[in-house]
Amino acid sequence: MALDKIGIAQRIAQELRDGWYVNLGIGIPTLVANYIPEGVNVEFQSENGILGMGPFPFEGEEDADLINAGKQTITNLPGAVYFDSATSFAMIRGQHVQLTVLGAMEVAQNGDIANWKIPNRMVKGMGGAMDLVASADNIIVAMMHTNKKGESKMLKECTLPLTGVGCVKRVVTNLAVLDIVEGGFKLIERAPGVSVDEIKNATEGNLIIEGEIPEMSL
């Protein structure tokens, strides 16, 4: 069965390593913070100016001066620190953040990503995404494998305006874990109960299948 958003977040949480600073984008990526593996210490950076982000506040304890990049009220953990936007992107651009997790509308088999604009229809802006994808060494995209019409979002080439070129390393979707390698999307894991054929049918870009493909364990 295909994963839901929580399943995608749980799978991505397995990628976290002890001692990492991690930037989580809006949407599914935000949920990753709820599934940190035992014994793994990570700190979450939000690009609007906090390191050491904690959970949502208890009702009545919201502080208008303490939000994340999704404009949600948050709290801080011991060891947290606030800083300005230039310092925040100095951390990102200077590669002090070890992992970036973000959503996408499209990913191409060469690692291109599009997630900020649909010409003449929707223009929300790139926010910090262009800085994040151009800077980070380790970028994981969290997304649905297909759109609402069932069309693949794993493409040979992106059709929408790009956010970054050749930067995505791994994609975790409701169907699979895919790595971007020379030649296309390499299938790493299947969602529980999802067949290789289902993934093949949902992938427009070149899908590389080598040997037995294991099921994710969540």
Binding site: N48, N68, G128, M130, S135, V165
Partner: protein
């Protein structure tokens, strides 16, 4: 000590004119200069170029200035919370320059720091890079971005003193310090205004040299955009 105190938002915005470029601090509705925005609306100036990470929501923050059509051009990184904005942009009434958030922050800092241009990897290979010089460093392509400055920079701080020194709270700091640096005239509105010498000189975020006018804001609504909470256990 050079005293920067003015009485209120109206006095603080003396000299704003149609056609000017203005920076507004804040991220979403967090840390925005609420009182100054009201004063700029009241002033009636228009044809403004506004530089701000976001454009407010329909009925708060820079959204007010969109309703009154005072803004000719908006330079921002994310404008997804504002229907009137999207309408004006898609209809062509509003010029929009969307730029990566980190480049926006760094371009403001550069403007204030006398750095006319710098290389950044952000935006390479995208629309943002169109017409910009590309150069490879450490095996990676970078684009040349230029500094941003403004006729007026409007920022909001938690505390400030008579000398214009500012202290921010939480994530309300965001773009305010860099924009303070980049304004020809920088105006700070603060929740608490104290005499010079009351702030610990180690704990000041924005030195008063960057601030030309400071005043205690008349009211602060400090609206929350996404109120997310968890239940008490």
């Amino acid at each position: 000590m050079i005293n920067k105190v003015v009485a209120n938002a109206k006095e603080a915005t003396q000299g704003v004119e149609s056609g000017m470029t203005m920076m507004f601090g804040g991220f979403g509705l967090c840390g925005i200069p609420e009182n100054v925005i009201q004063a700029v609306v009241a002033s009636g100036v228009n044809q403004l170029t506004c530089i701000s990470n976001n454009a407010g929501v329909d009925d708060f923050g820079l959204g007010f200035m969109l309703q009154t059509k005072q803004i000719k051009k908006m330079i921002a990184s994310y404008v997804g919370e504002n229907d009137e904005f999207e309408r004006q942009m898609l209809s062509g009434e509003l010029e929009v320059d969307l730029i990566p958030q980190g480049s926006l922050a760094e371009r403001c800092r550069a403007g204030g720091a006398g750095i006319p241009a710098f290389f950044t990897p952000a935006g390479f290979g995208t629309e943002v890079a169109e017409g910009k010089e590309v150069r490879e460093y450490n095996g990676k392509p970078h684009i040349l971005e230029t500094a941003l400055t403004a006729d007026f920079a409007f920022v909001k701080a938690w505390k400030g003193d008579e000398a214009g020194n500012l202290v921010f709270k939480g994530t309300a700091r965001n773009f305010n310090p860099m924009m303070a640096m980049a304004g020809k005239t920088t105006v700070a509105e603060v929740e608490e205004l104290v005499p010079a010498g009351e702030l610990d000189p180690n704990e000041i975020h924005t030195p008063g040299i960057f601030v030309q006018r400071i005043f205690k804001g008349e009211t602060f609504e400090k609206r929350i955009e996404q109120r997310t909470v968890r239940a008490k256990q």
